[in-house]
Symmetry: C2
Subunit: 187 residues, 2 copies
Amino acid sequence: MTTPRQAVPLTKAYLLLNHGPVTLVSSAHGAQRNVMAASWAMPLDFSPPKVAVVVDRHTLTRTLMEQSGEFALNIPARSQASQVLAVGSHSGRDQDKFEQFSLSTAPGAHVAAPLLDGCVAWLECKILPEPTNQDRYDLFLAEVVAAWADPAVFSEGRWHFPSDDRHTIHYAAGGHFFATGEGFDVV
Amino acid sequence: MTTPRQAVPLTKAYLLLNHGPVTLVSSAHGAQRNVMAASWAMPLDFSPPKVAVVVDRHTLTRTLMEQSGEFALNIPARSQASQVLAVGSHSGRDQDKFEQFSLSTAPGAHVAAPLLDGCVAWLECKILPEPTNQDRYDLFLAEVVAAWADPAVFSEGRWHFPSDDRHTIHYAAGGHFFATGEGFDVV
């Protein structure tokens, strides 16, 4: 079943990444597609929304991003933590990771990169070519052209986290994660 | 009282930012110093460790960073959330924020930027000049030349979070934060 999703206004897209969750980078070009984990992703601008993400030069994702000029950032839920670790530990050059790990997807609206089912939010991104950053730092900058969220988890510019398994997560290292914890307001 | 701090090996410095906590950017040049909040900060490389951070061109921090070529990323604790919001909502051009908000500091080892007391970790950074990124995207890349943590909170490459008030925090928007939540392992 495809996860429900609702468009997030582009001016609020940065909120999907602002608290620093781990992401999954999905990509596609021609008959190939891939997905990998990336903790090193952050907002870069509000409007038009932009993002920055680090993608190692040896990955298939990098090749597909460079070929297509596109990617999607998928924000996984806690229930997907084992998938995050799995797609972060295997190469798509060896086997299609969607088949290998039984990951279902839905098409994006503006990019060929697939949107991973079960996630809580998705950002469709078009790369802003900056060859020096890409070559020297493995750093990609991109404009967000569409954003989506499961409205039970994020709507009206706020995270709701209706249940433990729908919390976003943050990656430490060595298979260790943190759930996004208690929300609180400073006035 | 100065917060206890222990050197973090440079190869483990990325772990201080990997889970996406909010940061405070401190800077100094000549007689001026400043501190501001920045959620848009992430690791950029493991070894030598590098970071990326977005700093708006209208801020005093930006001026001091460009003048000195240096800054520090301070990782605040939950007990400092009101200070994070305060230094993120006021300009150092109007008043010295350290005096305004009674913030005490300790000197860094390799940069003039002060290290904020009460934080759980600190990264001393030297800017890698990339004028196109700075001018076009407000994006700064830097090498981490020293890293420190309160050993009660982070040691041996692991976060411990000994009490609620010493958790790292993540910024959403509008004064709303999330604490770094429950840790869990995927095997």
